[in-house]
């Protein structure tokens, strides 16, 4: 019945990210970052993005390495067991990348505040951190007519754009996540513009059949992009596990400027369809799914 479709091609995504926009990226650690969108921003040669990453890994490191970020607000950027995020580390140490480091919980509350339309939210806990005096524009104190004094508070942070990766989405933007969705719903609530990439675009009827999986209601969403394996090499559980082998290759490349230049050239020289054909070739997609199947629960 709907007359309005929000679907766009991945190639149109960079144009939906205004110049110098603050862009919040979904996912956490190696889970479910919107990597197809990240690659497309890299392909577009962006250098002006103001990044917001709650728990970043290759998403942030690739953007930093490609020179796409003007600055970064984050709580953590790590390649976990593979080591430190090389581009991120180098860019911060050299002073090339301006950073605002905020603890993950305070940053999420700041985004939550924006989504609720309130100017701040109270919390408990950050007071012992040296981050607090560094960023009085984020960490503050509140008092009330009830007699509360000096309650820790964080100020709302409203990203211009949020980009998240969902399992499926209808053309109105109702986005479902079968498994890990991190803080993606909160990003969608907070941002002025929301772009959802997804494994597949489906009918509204299909969404209604499993309404309890809808984590982002469509009225928050501005654009829907179909991007199969759009989180690769990160995971999209339960559809596929992280491609740790590709991540290790990335990590090796990132540790060497020449190798990383080649890595970038290759990403920039191919479309996302070509990336997928190359990086998830043969039965690799099946193996990445089988890793989910193989994961073992010990006891119930």
């Amino acid at each position: 019945m709907s007359i309005r479709s929000k679907t766009v091609a991945l190639s149109e995504l960079p144009a939906l990210v205004p110049e110098r926009a603050t862009v919040a990226l979904g996912g956490a650690w190696f889970a479910n970052h919107p990597m197809a969108a990240v690659r497309e921003l890299v392909r577009a040669g962006r250098t002006d993005v103001s990044g917001i990453a709650l728990l970043g890994s290759i998403d942030v490191d690739l953007l930093v390495g490609a020179g796409a970020l003007a600055d970064l607000t984050f709580s953590m950027v790590t390649m976990e067991a593979m080591g430190m995020a090389a581009n991120f580390r180098r860019a911060v140490q050299s002073g090339e990348l301006a950073i605002t480091e905020v603890s993950a919980i305070s940053l999420q509350l700041a985004l939550e505040a924006a989504g609720r339309g309130v100017p701040f939210l109270p919390l408990a806990g950050p007071e012992g951190s040296d981050l607090v005096p560094l960023h009085p524009e984020v960490y503050g104190r509140a008092s009330t007519s009830f007699g509360d004094e000096d309650v820790p508070a964080v100020r709302a942070i409203r990203p211009d754009v949020a980009i998240v990766h969902a399992s499926r989405c209808d053309e109105l933007g109702n986005a479902q996540f079968d498994g890990t969705y991190g803080q993606d719903p909160e990003l969608a609530r907070a941002a002025s513009r929301v772009i959802v990439t997804c494994e597949e675009i489906v009918s509204g009827e299909r969404i209604a059949e499993s309404a309890e999986l809808t984590r982002i209601p469509g009225f928050l969403v501005d654009a829907v992009v179909e991007a199969p394996f759009g989180a690769h090499p990160c995971s999209h559980v339960p559809r596929y596990a992280m491609d740790a082998w590709e991540l290790l290759d990335y990590q090796e490349a990132a540790s060497d400027p020449e190798a990383f230049a080649r890595y970038l050239d290759r990403v920039r020289g191919e479309t996302e369809d070509e990336y997928r054909a190359r990086a998830v070739s043969g039965d690799r997609g099946q193996v990445l799914s089988a890793l989910v199947e193989a994961a073992t629960v010990l006891e119930r």
Partner: protein
């Protein structure tokens, strides 16, 4: 060390322990507690709450956590219900430095604005080390560069530490515990320094004090850290961590990547076999 950490995990008060960044040693400790003395302890990871014990692995841990959940919640729900409230049980954090005041550093070595080494950052640890019942900071080495009077940057700091002062402010009382390859240190008050809770088998008190950069209270009799029992080790090695991922925490750069590739090959082969089996 996993066994020693797992002892700190209890079921009291239905508190929740959250699996955050990939810290296999801590994961192993939680699973051990759940399989032995704390079966009803509440574990959460990613968007899963109420998980059962899982086999540790690298590429499949998230999926195992997903599969065993009794509920799914958003990070904001876990923030609200656990991290900023009084429902957090134990936070295990692998830090680069520990200060004599209990501060941990996951941000920088050197000056904050011109760091010698920019570290990953603290994720949710600033609020968590303040709000949870118990903080366990664990270290892969015990030396004066790690245990320092004052950290280069306090990513997080429990304050106050003393039970009375905490309860007065509505915070859960509970210690800051540091576990290293040499010993267990413990801080319970604001006025007193860390005290030496136990030394590991074969380690002398002197060795610990010599390698600790901050003041350390040494009681007259320092117990030896309980050795893991045979059943504990068996559960750990055979069921929880057959790939020995907990070794990650003790390996440096190249060695760690080589070990990771080794584990990943085994994980790949196992998944591949499933694909082949489905085909035939």
């Amino acid at each position: 060390m996993a066994c020693r950490i797992s002892e700190e995990m209890r079921e009291e008060g239905e508190r929740v322990t959250v699996l955050g960044s990939f810290t296999p040693l801590a994961y192993a400790a939680y699973m051990l507690a759940k399989l032995t003395h704390a079966p009803d302890a509440w574990l959460a990871g990613y968007n899963a709450i109420g998980m059962d014990p899982i086999e540790l692995g690298f590429s499949g841990a998230e999926a195992a956590i997903y599969k065993t959940a009794r509920g799914r919640w958003s990070f904001t729900e876990s923030n609200q219900l656990v991290h900023i409230g009084t429902r957090g049980m134990i936070e295990c954090v692998s830090s680069v430095q520990l200060g004599g005041d209990g501060a941990i550093n996951l941000s920088v070595i050197g000056d904050y604005d011109r760091p010698k080494v920019r570290l990953p950052g603290g994720a949710g640890s600033p609020e968590v080390v303040q709000n949870y019942h118990t903080v366990v900071a664990y270290f892969s080495r015990h030396d004066r560069r790690t245990f320092v009077p004052r950290v280069d940057f306090a990513t997080g700091r429990r304050t106050p530490v003393g039970a009375g002062a905490r309860e007065k402010r509505g915070l859960l009382p509970g210690p800051v515990i540091a576990i290293s390859p040499l010993a267990v240190l413990r801080k319970d008050t604001d006025d007193e320094p860390f005290s030496l809770a136990s030394v590991h088998p074969g380690v002398s008190v002197e060795e610990v004090v010599d390698n600790t950069g901050f003041e350390l209270a040494v009681p007259d009799r320092v117990p030896v850290t309980r050795a893991p029992t045979e059943p504990q080790l068996r559960v750990l090695r055979e069921r929880i961590d057959p790939f020995a991922t907990a070794r990650f925490d003790f390996l440096g750069g190249r060695e760690r990547v080589a070990f990771l590739r080794e584990i990943l090959t085994r994980e790949w082969d196992r998944a591949r076999a499933l694909v082949e089996a489905a085909r035939s």
